[in-house]
Symmetry: C2
């Protein structure tokens, strides 16, 4: 299956009864500071506090009853685990989330709060995948991957479908941060099909595997990120990389300092709580303001699940 706008539109119909159509936020002062008109799609107000609710909901509501009632499983130290737990609970299905032992207590509590079972493992990718394989073989669970899956990408692409409807006249650029690539992949497909806007990904300089892949045409299978933007520490998946190659116009980088500065600016000016990952597109604009000057730029604010006891300032 090659993902198309039809899949994303179907996904949108499928999940619309369960998700929030999140608002678009604006700040005249931010616009002035940045020299462009910014539209922030506030997915921090989404169910479970992040856009990940969209993909997980689409995946769960695409499954047939027989598979679903055997249960679903994923591995996640972040928002996707909570999203799958939430989506599974809507259909009364069992959900197991494999989490590293050292995951923050607050993330474990979120997953448990939606009624999922947590299985702890050593904090390595090998241990995570081994645990998943065992669970799939033993219980017939269906793996719902955090990003490298068509139904997930289709779900994440629905945020862009909404924002293009919500913003009255055409935007010039749509931006999203790049982690595993599910969001930017879905966004690219949606935006290119529905508008003439450019699609620009943003990535921390210290987690630039997508940028390296985009620049060389060769996806990196392994990469060690080291960024404060904890939602972007994944390496871009195979399917997202194909979508990026086909639909994304550019990937821009930014420094860690800029991410913190941009995060604080959004907190202060938009008065919303966002994760460091969400600040990456604005940080990229701050580092490369010329190409945005005078443009109408939509940015997807991906999530708001932040540890208030460990703020970066």
């Amino acid at each position: 299956m090659k993902l198309t706008i039809k899949d994303i539109q179907q996904a949108h119909k499928r999940i619309a009864p369960h998700i929030h159509c999140t608002p678009i936020l604006q700040s005249q002062l931010l616009n002035k500071m940045m020299g462009c008109e910014l539209f922030f799609k506030a997915e921090n107000f989404q169910k479970i506090g992040a856009f990940k609710a969209r993909g997980a909901c689409n995946a769960v509501f695409s499954m047939d009853d027989a598979s679903l009632h055997k249960g679903v499983v994923t591995h996640s130290s972040g928002n996707h685990g909570a999203a799958l737990a939430w989506a599974a609970s809507l259909r009364g299905a069992d959900c197991t989330v494999v989490m590293p032992e050292n995951a923050p207590a607050v993330k474990k509590a979120a997953v448990a709060g939606y009624g999922a079972t947590i299985q702890l493992c050593e904090p390595t990718m090998v241990a995570r995948e081994a645990a998943i394989t065992t669970l799939v073989e033993q219980y017939g669970y269906t793996l719902v991957h955090p990003f490298d899956a068509d139904q997930i990408m289709a779900g994440q692409g629905t945020a862009a479908v909404e924002l293009l409807q919500q913003i009255e006249s055409e935007v010039d650029i749509v931006m999203a941060p790049v982690g595993g690539g599910g969001l930017i992949g879905g966004t690219g497909i949606a935006v290119k099909a529905l508008s003439n806007a450019q699609v620009i990904g943003a990535e921390p300089e210290q987690a630039k595997d997508a940028w390296l892949g985009f620049t060389t045409g060769q996806r990196l299978a392994e990469y060690s990120p080291n960024t404060i933007a904890d939602g972007l520490r994944a390496t871009v998946g195979v399917r997202p990389f194909a979508a990026i190659t086909n639909t994304v116009d550019d990937i821009l980088l930014c420094s860690e300092e800029r991410i913190v500065e941009a995060m604080r600016l959004i907190w202060t000016r938009l008065k919303v709580i966002i994760e460091p990952s969400c600040a990456v597109p604005l940080a990229a604009i701050m580092d490369q303001p010329e190409q945005f000057r005078g443009k109408r730029v939509a940015i997807i604010l991906t999530g708001g699940n932040v540890d208030l006891d460990a703020l970066p300032w």
Copy 2:
């Protein structure tokens, strides 16, 4: 002049082109935790980051050109100074804000950012008022009081007019925090005229001058508050006290610990930045949950101008 709903409705027409109709926020999880249905009117998204924009805008746009162009003046260590500076700038009028020397740099920057002149004074009420008197006499400035003025109360009351329109079916209770009383006074008049809802004010136990006045029928002219809710350190004014006496059903108190807990809960669950003052109504609900059980309760979130370097946790 005795303030009526007509004044508030006229104020709403007058200021609507300049202010935001701020959204209503909800959280199913918060509703579950509190045992009631909560509707948060997000005035932290208002111009200058607080509802104070409403009153100041109404006052400035109610003035005739001759008076206005002599200039306006107020004293404020908080949001009203920024609000008046902003409103004056919309009509091209001069604005002077008398601020205590020890006001936070960020507050001074906000006032200066809207083009107002700052006049520093010693950090006492006496010094503030002396400075104002001199400026009024010397330059013919018009004093725009932060809360003890009909046009200010009328402006603040417009938030309640909006929220009653925005929430589809009737609410049972409308709540606002009580500082100088401009907001709760305007809210009381609006809500009683337009609905059958109860109006409940909320005040920190450690700044309970309104509660004492409400309980004894006698306004306190002097009181020394000591609360983290910096927006509520004023003593209720004469006109607001009359409005409270006529329209408010009850004033509830809450502890400082609850204010911090409620503030954090709103940050975490609603994903919005609010000042400690905004958390006071939710804190009062947490301290006295019985009388809210099963009710539909609207709360005005008053502002989001917080010093991110001095959070209370």
